[in-house]
């Protein structure tokens, strides 16, 4: 790859990383509270479809992002009622949420398919955003800067606030947290709603930034990558940032491996396509080998909690 390609390469990488970073940040908070929501892909699709619908009817991108967050949170509320109030199995309910999101958006989104959606352009003025060099820092949609701000916010909340400590305590030992008087179910509701809103905003990146349109199954599996990313990051926000950009790097390498010659062609493009998943497996192995590894997943992850015991 020659040096003139480095800027477009990084711009593509950052854009590709942003939706998975946003969705994974939400899922990280959900899992830290002890809940496993496998419905990320479905909630992202709901966010993406809502964004396209609001953009095509009102043209206001910020209203579209807000609606996507609300729609994602609403889908997550359905999951929360089933799993937290009614103690349904979290894995099955999460998978059902993805199937529901896929089918529902295909049906409801039908009037919005096949129409170009206006995008949300760079945050900074064109002099900076279109500069051939500086666009590597200033050339992005506000969604990219939002995702970076959210990394700091989520880290600060989880690690530096009392509420964050309570949420982590609930994820590690729900019965102890309950016995000293913390509202386990209430906190988990809020975490799941936050996760849904973040997945919805992650979905909003597709019509607003990456693929300016709505189509059935538009996110094409990015929600599953977000789920893998949380495990890859060992449930730590700063590692999540690094992980999202590593995944984005690997996805972009695959694209450049196909379109440019040179060193990329040592390996077939399928190898690059498989790398994010191979990397996840590798990290899981490393985690389980290390002594501290067994404590990295929240202890109550995926276990239903009922106050009666």
């Amino acid at each position: 790859m020659n040096s003139a390609l480095i800027v477009p390469f990084i711009v593509t990488l950052v854009a590709a990383s942003t939706p998975i970073l946003l969705a994974a940040l939400g899922e990280l908070v959900v899992e830290k509270s002890g809940v496993l929501n496998l419905g990320v892909e479905g909630m992202m699709l709901i966010g993406a479809m809502t964004t396209a619908a609001v953009m095509l009817t009102t043209g206001n991108p910020y209203l579209a992002i807000g609606s996507a967050a609300l729609a994602g949170a609403f889908a997550a509320l359905l999951f929360a009622v089933l799993t937290l109030s009614l103690s349904a199995n979290q894995v099955a309910t999460g998978l059902a949420l993805t199937i529901l999101g896929t089918g529902l958006t295909a049906l409801v989104g039908r009037p919005f398919t096949g129409q170009p959606v206006p995008t949300l352009g760079p945050l900074f003025p064109p002099a900076l955003a279109n500069d051939p060099i500086w666009r590597v820092i200033f050339g992005y949609s506000p969604l990219v800067y939002l995702s970076l701000a959210m990394v700091v916010a989520v880290w600060f909340f989880l690690m530096r606030t009392r509420s964050g400590l309570i949420l982590r305590a609930i994820g590690e030992s729900d019965t102890s947290a309950h016995s000293i008087g913390y509202p386990v179910i209430g906190v988990r509701y809020l975490a799941v709603l936050f996760g849904g809103a973040m997945a919805g905003i992650g979905g909003a990146c597709f019509p607003l930034m990456l693929t300016p349109q709505w189509a059935e199954r538009l996110t094409a599996g990015r929600g599953w990558i977000a789920l893998a990313l949380v495990v890859f990051a060992a449930w730590r926000p700063y590692r999540l940032l690094a992980g999202a950009y590593i995944f984005g790097l690997l996805m972009t390498l695959e694209v450049y491996a196909k379109t440019s010659g040179g060193g990329f062609r040592i390996f077939p493009s399928e190898f690059w396509a498989a790398l994010p998943y191979l990397a996840t497996i590798l990290v899981l192995v490393l985690i389980s080998l290390s002594r501290k590894g067994s404590t990295s997943a929240p202890a109550c992850l995926g276990k239903p909690f009922s106050p009666a015991g």
């Binding site: 590709a16 096949g114 170009p116 349109q213 059935e216 094409a220 972009t252 694209v255 379109t259 077939p268």
Partner: protein, 362 residues
């Protein structure tokens, strides 16, 4: 017209079973029932849209008093499609179109059980007494696009984004590259595969990275209009519509399109069923028969480019130009087709090499 999805078809089966109770009136009208099985939905602006437009064209031409159609959408290529074909046959559809390659085994299985029902398999490769084949020479249209690409590129770098490395796509790339290099021998063609029939984010990233590397004309062989959108926003020279006119997505960049026009074939097939002359043929029409059309040209396209494109199109139509006329070298420099020779329709499906000037990562 009825539009169903798979879940409704069982209920419809029940309703059809009750029909004989209504007495002989149904027979007096002599309406033929024709079924269409689609892999996606007609909203895709591409393959399925084309087949549905063809069905509507046929209904219009033959008349809804003589024919009624049933469309089953979102039928995956696999064992479940067998159930759909059997249901349609049991409901008394006399002619059933399976519009995807992967339905073949299941069409043949059901066809053996319903010898009086006629089946037609789009892009298929095996007939039976009651199974006919039909296909379209999309690569003829790609030769016209290649001509335009070769004449309009300023960087001499053009690209072809394909879905999967199957014969139809490989030969689309070859037809495009041969035509482009004929009018501009300097042209280099980068061919890439998405690796999926549907992954808009990856298609968009592939288009962006091609553009970053100096590619200024792109054609795509995938199902959606994402690549025209990226091309438009990047302000490159050109992009083409696939399956349908996509100029709404790229008003300045969309140079022209290949449009699948199945309508006349569907009219002919259904009319032959009504007349009792249906045969288990195998047809492969193209530009000449009007099954593959070249869409409107962008008004900004230079007149001499349009003239050259029309010249290639008309030469293919009148038979004076074959898209795969020799001499053809492959991209390693080996001669594959001698001067005066062509790749004929039978050899077409066995080509697993790319012509000179194509670089590809499969």
């Amino acid at each position: 017209m009825m539009r169903l999805n798979r879940r409704h078809i069982m209920q419809l089966g029940g309703a059809a079973a009750a029909l004989p109770l209504l007495g002989g009136q149904a027979f007096a009208q002599e309406k033929v029932k024709v079924g269409f099985v689609l892999i996606g939905t007609p909203d895709d602006n591409g393959w399925n849209y084309g087949h549905d437009q063809g069905r509507l064209f046929m209904l219009d031409a033959i008349g809804e008093d003589k024919v009624e159609t049933t469309v089953v959408t979102n039928v995956a290529e696999g064992p479940d499609s067998e159930r759909v074909f059997r249901e349609l046959a049991q409901q008394g559809h006399q002619l059933i179109f399976g519009t995807s390659f992967g339905y073949g085994d299941y069409i043949h299985r059901v066809a053996r059980q319903f010898p009086d029902t006629r089946f037609e398999w789009a892009t298929g490769n095996l007939t039976a007494p009651n199974v006919a084949l039909y296909n379209a020479k999309f690569h003829e249209g790609r030769a016209v696009l290649g001509t335009i690409a070769g004449l309009t590129t300023k960087t001499n770098k053009i690209a072809y984004v394909g879905s999967m490395p199957i014969p139809e796509v490989v030969m689309g790339i070859n037809a495009f590259a041969l035509a482009a290099r004929k009018v501009n021998p300097e042209v280099e063609v980068t061919a890439v595969y998405v690796g999926s029939w549907f992954d808009p984010p990856r298609e968009a990233d592939l288009a962006r990275s091609l553009i970053a590397q100096g590619v200024d004309v792109i054609t795509q062989h995938t199902d959606g209009p994402v690549i025209p959108q990226i091309a438009e926003s990047s302000g490159i020279v050109g992009v083409f519509g696939q399956g349908a006119d996509m100029s709404a997505f790229a008003p300045n960049t969309h140079l022209t399109s290949i449009i699948d026009h199945w309508g006349p074939y569907y009219v002919q097939a259904v009319q032959s069923l009504i007349d009792g002359t249906w045969t288990n043929g195998s047809v492969w029409p193209g530009l000449k028969e009007g099954e593959v059309l070249i869409g409107p040209y962008n008004p900004n396209l230079a007149a001499d480019v349009v003239a050259k494109a029309e010249e290639v199109k008309n030469a293919i139509i009148d038979g004076s130009l074959h898209p795969f006329a020799g001499p053809i070298n492959d991209n390693t420099g080996t001669e594959r087709v001698a001067a005066g020779d062509i790749i004929d329709d039978g050899e077409f499906w066995a080509v697993d090499w790319y012509v000179e000037g194509v670089s590809v990562v499969e």
